[in-house]
């Protein structure tokens, strides 16, 4: 993901702009929080004006929406603040509208923002992945079950979890008086927006309501504190492991080295296996979705599929050896 390290940024410091792209109805206002320079994937705070109407639509991108204020009528149901949607690529979202206006986070995960008018799913769309949640009313706060874990007073609501990559979307809160004296980094990018409240991080100072960051992997953050508590919306693009330490001066390369050294120490057999020559770490669980980087790798993976009897198609143009 080619997004710049944007940390911190407070969206209250800039004005809304009109999103005037072909197919986008009038009344769609946005503040760009971060954007991928290559794909156009982005995170925006959005203000839909009172009376905004959007026809039934699909997108070539996964789309996430989190309502922070106002209400949005989607199909026949009115969603209040706390409403969350994960709309997989190609899944048709019913017409939506807002009578008095709606303030939301909108994320296009694969492309720049766009709307294709359609009340039909695209071929291959994974409708079973559609998530619609009333996060404030229907979900309880949970203690994270990670190891190592954040301090008591940091609670989560898990909104979306990608079983394949462990990327996730979540609400989080720090209760008043929260503190955690350690420095953390992760093997994944992390993104967050403060729906309400101010917290402090030792590298960046205070992040108030409307505060946002997009942080690449292996960047130090913490210690942490919040006097009055916060409500935040967060996402990662991979598995969220807390690498805690107390060296304020380490840089991302040194942190990545430390993470690799820890993996070698803590999972020596896996490390040995990963370095074994002549195999390609074929994942039989996700055989159909596997993408190989080289012709040699494709041949090996294809042979592994045959060896395990994994169903697959042959819509590729390489030659391979079949096992008898």
């Amino acid at each position: 993901m080619a997004r710049k390290h944007i940390e911190p940024f407070v969206d209250r410091d800039i004005h809304f702009k009109k999103l005037e792209l072909k197919g986008i109805p009038g009344g769609y206002n946005y503040k760009m929080l971060s954007i991928d320079e290559d794909t156009g994937a982005c995170t925006m705070t959005v203000q839909w004006d009172a009376g905004y109407r959007q026809p039934p639509s699909v997108a070539y991108s996964d789309v996430e929406i989190f309502i922070m204020d106002g209400a949005l009528k989607v199909g026949d149901r009115v969603w209040a603040k706390g409403g969350y949607f994960f709309v997989p690529r190609g899944v048709s979202l019913p017409a939506f509208s807002t009578e008095k206006g709606c303030f939301a986070l909108v994320m296009y995960n694969d492309t720049e923002p766009h709307i294709v008018e359609s009340d039909q799913d695209m071929d291959g769309a994974e409708r079973e992945g559609l998530i619609q949640l009333a996060t404030y009313d229907d979900m309880s706060w949970q203690m994270p079950t990670l190891f190592p874990q954040t301090a008591t007073g940091c609670l989560l609501k898990l909104l979306h979890f990608d079983e394949k990559t462990h990327a996730m979307t979540f609400l989080y809160t720090m209760t008043p008086g929260f503190k955690q004296d350690n420095i953390s980094y992760h093997d994944c990018a992390e993104e967050a927006y403060h729906v309400w409240g101010t917290s402090w991080m030792m590298q960046f100072g205070n992040l108030p309501t409307g505060g946002y960051f997009w942080r690449p992997a292996y960047v130090n953050h913490g210690a942490f504190a919040s006097d009055h508590g916060i409500l935040g919306f967060g996402r990662t693009d991979g598995d969220l492991h807390n690498h805690f330490h107390w060296n304020p001066y380490s840089n991302p390369a040194e942190n990545a080295d430390r993470a690799a050294a820890r993996l070698i120490r803590q999972k020596p057999e896996l490390n040995k296996w990963m370095w074994t020559k002549d195999h390609n770490h074929f994942d039989f669980e996700y055989a159909a979705a596997y993408t190989a980087e080289s012709e040699d790798e494709r041949v090996h993976i294809h042979e592994a599929m045959h060896a395990m009897g994994v169903e697959h198609d042959h819509d590729h143009d390489h030659h391979h050896h079949h096992h008898d």
Partner: protein
């Protein structure tokens, strides 16, 4: 399957390319400002925060898991390297 949907996306129009270029340019400007504010202007204050953190982990303790803490010894405190400390990359 849904990767094929992404692959089927039509090429961007000139209008969208122009819009994207504007967004990226604004983000680059914002990023440069953040680098200045965080890496340079906040540096002295942050050094003070580092000293206070080091004091706390030697007295009230370092959080190694949840509220489990351990006291860090003075000889375990990392020295400041001979390079600029960056927090935004």
């Amino acid at each position: 399957m849904s990767k094929k949907i992404l692959q089927n996306k039509p090429p961007r129009s000139e209008e969208v390319e122009k819009w994207l270029a504007e967004q990226v340019a604004e983000q680059n400007t914002r990023y440069e400002q953040i680098c200045r504010e965080m890496n340079d202007e906040l540096e002295d204050r942050r050094e003070q925060w580092y000293r206070e953190f080091e004091e706390r982990i030697q007295t009230t303790g370092f959080y190694w898991h949840a509220d489990n803490k351990k006291i860090i010894k003075p000889e375990q405190i990392y020295p400041k390297p001979n390079r600029k400390n960056k927090v935004v990359y």
